[in-house]
């Protein structure tokens, strides 16, 4: 019996999503090793992201010394081969959704596996009494950068956002919005690099991880890497089923498929 092609690719997409989730999940902190016991160190120290069921083994499962280097591979360092340019409408970054730009729901979005997460996008809400002055200043600037992005001025936003990481290099939101600004400027590879940094800073925040995956999907899509894009969108939805950037993109993709096959 033949499995329909569409179902097959969907299945493959889910499998890939799980694999990528595992391999890209935030790593456990490095622990100062205790004097060695006879038991060998565990080979993998990669923690799957929250809200995900145990998934398929990670991409690299071979035993590795600590700290593990599963995420960074040689191919990540070299410039990715330039794919065929995406279609014009796909490359229009200014029209992409952002977390501050609510969009209409999409009918064709895949069924979410988890309930939508509460909106955690307000950075000013994160300035609480215990927050260091540097972090507070950095968050305020990030918020300004976000507004400039929403106002359609990514160049100015970048100048502001670069300040955020100077003040507080642990502010992952700053890196996220820098990635978004670079995406808007059409610098997709640079945006992907920044998302990787953002991910290393925001590993414990599912809402933001979902945003990172969605934006990663947008970048891949703009680069013409549709398979990777789809995987990233699915990943974003697994973390937060309410991620509209991802659901809309997937809806658009499924809507485009028949046309494409024609």
């Amino acid at each position: 019996m033949l499995i329909p092609k569409q179902r097959l690719s969907k299945f493959a997409g889910y499998a890939m999503a799980i694999v990528v989730t595992w391999s890209c999940a935030p790593q456990r902190p490095y622990r100062a090793p205790l004097p060695r016991s006879s038991t060998p160190a565990p080979s993998a120290r990669v923690t799957p992201p929250p809200a995900l069921p145990p998934a398929a083994p990670p991409v690299e499962t071979a035993p590795k010394p600590l700290p593990q280097e599963s995420k960074i591979r040689e191919q990540d360092i070299r410039t990715a081969p330039t794919p065929a340019p995406a279609s014009k409408d796909v490359k229009e970054p200014a029209k992409q959704a952002s977390i501050s730009e609510p969009r209409g729901s999409s009918e064709a979005a895949p069924t979410p596996t988890t309930p939508p997460l509460a909106d955690d996008s307000s950075l000013l809400a994160k300035i609480t009494p215990g927050v260091s002055p540097q972090r507070a200043a950095s968050l305020r600037l990030t918020e300004e950068g976000r507004k400039l992005l929403d106002a359609g001025d990514p160049a100015k936003a970048i100048t502001r956002l670069e300040r955020t990481i100077v003040i507080d290099s642990t502010n992952g939101y700053g890196y996220f919005y820098l990635a978004k600004a670079q995406y808007r400027m059409g610098h997709y590879q640079q945006s992907l690099n920044l998302l990787e940094v953002a991910q290393s800073r925001l590993g414990g925040e599912p809402f933001w991880m979902s945003e990172i995956y969605a934006l990663r999907g947008e970048n891949f899509r703009a680069l013409g890497q549709t398979q990777k894009a789809e995987t990233s969108y699915h990943q974003a939805l697994r973390l937060n089923s309410g991620n509209r950037t991802a659901s809309d993109a997937l809806a658009r993709a499924s809507g485009d498929s028949p046309a494409a096959s024609k």
Binding site: Q27, R36, P67, A155, V166, S169, N193, S200
Partner: protein, 761 residues
């Protein structure tokens, strides 16, 4: 006889004819030449515009650690001046010590991404922390502001004239009338030369028996500035007058006047000449032409006669006197009313500490120049008035320069042999400072004395890296493990004993430890802290030299790295800048930032020609970077970098010494999460300094870091598990909690630094 006389007469006539004809031809030729020159000047390119190099702007935000004195010094350098009352005009500031506030009326500034109009602002300080920022114009709370960058130097040919060209319509009529009244009151009625004016000048000169006045019209002055020398001689006067007549015949009074207003020299700031009324209004009053008061207009017009002698910055009394003379003339000519005259007399003269623009970062500028030369032809750089914004921090630059020159002098003083050798060869050093998060080069000193040697050792000198290379060996070991199957951890025990590394068809290499002292079984952390050669080479052999090389590349080393065993101990030649980039990657949690000196390039019309954003790439995992940072903190706590602690640098920091074969190069690279500096000391030639990195480079690094970080918040390296939790305002001077030594519990007190650090060859 008559015949002879006739002959003489005929001959004389012919001679006269020849002379007259020659004179006429020569006169016509000169006239044509002068006309061509005048036409070419009026219709061609009139001025060259020097490009300006700016430092980084100064970002002030709520929460910033900022000493009042530092802010005041910054304001002074930017040409702000203190007033006793609330600042009413751009460039003024007032300090209120009791309230802990500084009110500043900011200058206008065209930043690459926005044009900021100056406004009054209040900065409140609680101790050394900025606790509030308020816009005094609209009483709104602000969270940050940006002070404009400083001009570092200009790129120009021959002389540096600072000027912005304006249209005649942009110049206030009062300024035009005033200049005409005091410089050439018959401007609109003469034909380029004013005989009445000349007669008057001659009388004055006769009376004083010296050249007091020239009687030049504005057109003559313009011709002199455009086409002739500054010499005040009668032989220059003739062509000047003829050219003025030519110009008046060919061009309208308005065209001549507009050129004059843009051309005229009105002051000097160091090597920077202030030309044209727009630039002068900015220089003296920090305001656009349209906002000049009557008194300011009179002062400006009065300056034309002798801009430096009558400068309010140099001689307030002379400037006031001249201004009042001009005001009286305006009143006499009924250009201003008596009321305006009285008010203008009461106006205060502009005050400002005259900060000269002297290139304080020549090596940095040379580095920039090389970067810029790739995209901009020399003529464009020196004539098109580009504005080049950089990452340079002049405060840090000065500290770096001082630390290097004083450090090298101290070394020579404490090591007489070095001084003797220096007399022949010249002990050299270099320091480069980078912000790890963005890759911005904050300071660069490429040598001891720029006047003596412009060779920039930061990016032009390739020197053996020595032990600075060792962290790459251990990173490779942590990442890949050994070919023997050994997994490496900071507490993995390795063998520090002599051995021979056989490689490539019968070749062998034997690494030696410093003083031939071997320590047997040691942990990786101990091997790195004490920079043990043998142990490191053994690990490199197990991991494979190609993997070590790959890690170095990944972090940012670009020079050729031969895959030979000695690479593990830093036999490859690298530049200090490469070392800075590679270790910045560690400081920045595994994120490599492209090194950036030029950030923006803007043209004269404020169009951004080039924008170099921060370019980042996560090249090793945050946890791996954190591990290495912890190990290198151990170097500072217990290893070869420990003397820095004794010398008073107490912040959380990581670092590594480097000493090369035969003691030719001494290195130290060290960093906090926010600032990294690499110091190299050695000779340009083959001479040995005979000192280790800890002895020669570390003292310079320590002095630099103590001063450079004095006003920065104390930060520590972030554990990847707790993002945002790293900021500690009261980090202990020395924490040995990472327990990278065997058998010591976390938080154990630091053992004393080794009496003599085991420094490798």
């Amino acid at each position: 006889m008559k015949k002879f006389q006739l002959r003489i007469f005929s001959f004389g006539l012919i001679v006269l004819l020849i002379i007259t004809t020659t004179g006429l031809v020569a006169g016509a030729w000169f006239l044509k030449d002068w006309e061509d020159k005048v036409t070419k000047k009026f219709e061609g390119r009139k001025w060259d515009f020097a490009s300006k190099i700016y430092s980084d702007s100064y970002h002030v935000y709520v929460g910033l650690s900022l000493r009042r004195d530092d802010l005041v010094e910054k304001l002074r350098r930017l040409g702000y001046y203190e007033t006793s009352g609330s600042p009413k005009t751009q460039g003024a500031y007032q300090i209120n010590v009791a309230a802990g506030t500084i009110d500043i009326f900011l200058h206008d500034f065209e930043f690459p991404t926005e044009n900021v109009k100056g406004y009054p602002v209040r900065i409140s300080l609680q101790g050394n922390i900025v606790s509030g920022i308020e816009n005094l114009a609209d009483k709104t709370e602000k969270f940050d502001l940006e002070l404009e960058p400083e001009v570092v130097t200009g790129l120009y040919q021959r002389i540096w004239q600072e000027r912005r060209v304006v249209k005649l319509a942009e110049v206030p009529p009062l300024l035009i009338k005033t200049i005409i009244a005091v410089e050439d009151e018959r401007f609109f009625s003469h034909a380029g030369v004013d005989p009445i004016g000349i007669m008057r000048a001659m009388l004055v000169n006769l009376r004083h028996l010296s050249l007091q006045q020239g009687g030049s019209t504005l057109t003559q002055q313009l011709m002199k500035n455009f086409l002739l020398s500054d010499e005040r001689t009668l032989s220059r006067k003739f062509p000047e007058a003829v050219m003025a007549l030519i110009a008046e015949r060919k061009y309208s009074k308005e065209v001549i006047l507009e050129n004059y207003l843009n051309e005229i020299y009105l002051g000097q700031r160091g090597s920077q000449g202030i030309s044209g009324v727009w630039e002068a209004a900015q220089f003296y009053f920090s305001k656009p032409l349209s906002e000049l008061t009557v008194g300011q207009t009179a002062l400006l017009a009065g300056l034309i006669r002798a801009p430096n002698r009558l400068s309010p910055y140099r001689n307030a009394e002379a400037a006031t006197k001249r201004r009042n003379v001009v005001l009286a003339k305006l009143l006499d000519d009924k250009i201003i009313t008596e009321k305006q005259y009285d008010a203008a007399l009461k106006e205060q003269l502009p005050q400002r500490a005259l900060v000269k623009v002297t290139n304080e970062a020549p090596f940095y500028v040379d580095y920039l120049r090389r970067e810029l030369d790739q995209n901009y032809p020399k003529d464009v750089l020196e004539k098109e008035g580009l504005r080049i914004f950089t990452g340079l921090d002049l405060r840090i630059q000065k500290i770096a320069e001082k630390a290097l020159t004083e450090g090298l002098a101290k070394l020579e003083a404490s090591h007489p042999a070095l001084k003797k050798k220096s007399a022949e060869e010249g002990l050299e050093g270099a320091i480069v400072v980078v912000r790890p998060q963005t890759g911005e080069i904050k300071a660069m000193v490429g040598g001891r004395n720029y006047q003596k040697s412009q060779f920039n050792r930061i990016f032009q000198a390739k020197r053996q890296a020595g032990s600075v290379f060792k962290p790459f060996v251990y990173l490779a070991a942590f990442m890949h493990g050994g070919q023997s199957g050994t997994q490496y951890f900071p507490d993995t025990v390795v063998n520090d004993s002599q051995f021979t590394w056989n490689y490539d068809r019968g070749q062998s290499w034997q690494p030696n430890n410093y003083n031939n002292d071997y320590y047997g079984a040691v942990t990786v952390s101990r091997a790195l802290e004490s920079s043990l050669n043998s142990a490191t080479a053994r690990v490199a052999q197990d991991v494979g030299i190609r993997r070590v090389r790959e890690v170095a590349r990944r972090l940012g080393i670009e020079s050729s790295l031969p895959a030979v065993p000695s690479l593990s101990l830093g036999s490859a030649e690298v530049t200090p800048l490469e070392v800075a980039v590679a270790f910045s990657t560690l400081a920045n949690g595994g994120v490599r930032a492209r090194s950036v000196a030029v950030k923006h390039v803007m043209d004269q019309n404020t169009k951004v020609l080039e924008k170099r954003d921060v370019k980042l790439e996560q090249v090793i995992s945050p946890s791996l970077a954190y591990t290495m940072n912890q190990l290198l903190k151990g170097v500072m706590a217990r290893g070869t970098g420990a003397p820095a602690r004794r010398w008073g640098f107490t912040r959380p920091a990581a670092g590594k010494t480097g000493t090369t074969n035969d003691y030719k190069d001494a290195w130290f690279v060290g960093y906090t999460p926010d600032l990294l500096a690499v110091v190299w000391v050695g000779y340009d030639g083959p001479a040995k300094i005979g000192l280790s990195g800890g002895e020669a480079a570390l003292p310079i690094w320590t002095e630099f870091m103590k001063a450079a970080t004095a006003n920065m918040p104390v930060t520590d390296f972030v554990s990847p598990s707790v993002p945002g939790s790293e900021k500690s305002e009261d980090a202990p001077a020395e924490k040995c909690g990472s327990a990278t030594r065997e058998g010591e519990p976390p938080g154990a007190p630091c053992p004393p630094a080794p009496a003599k650090p085991a420094e490798p060859v």
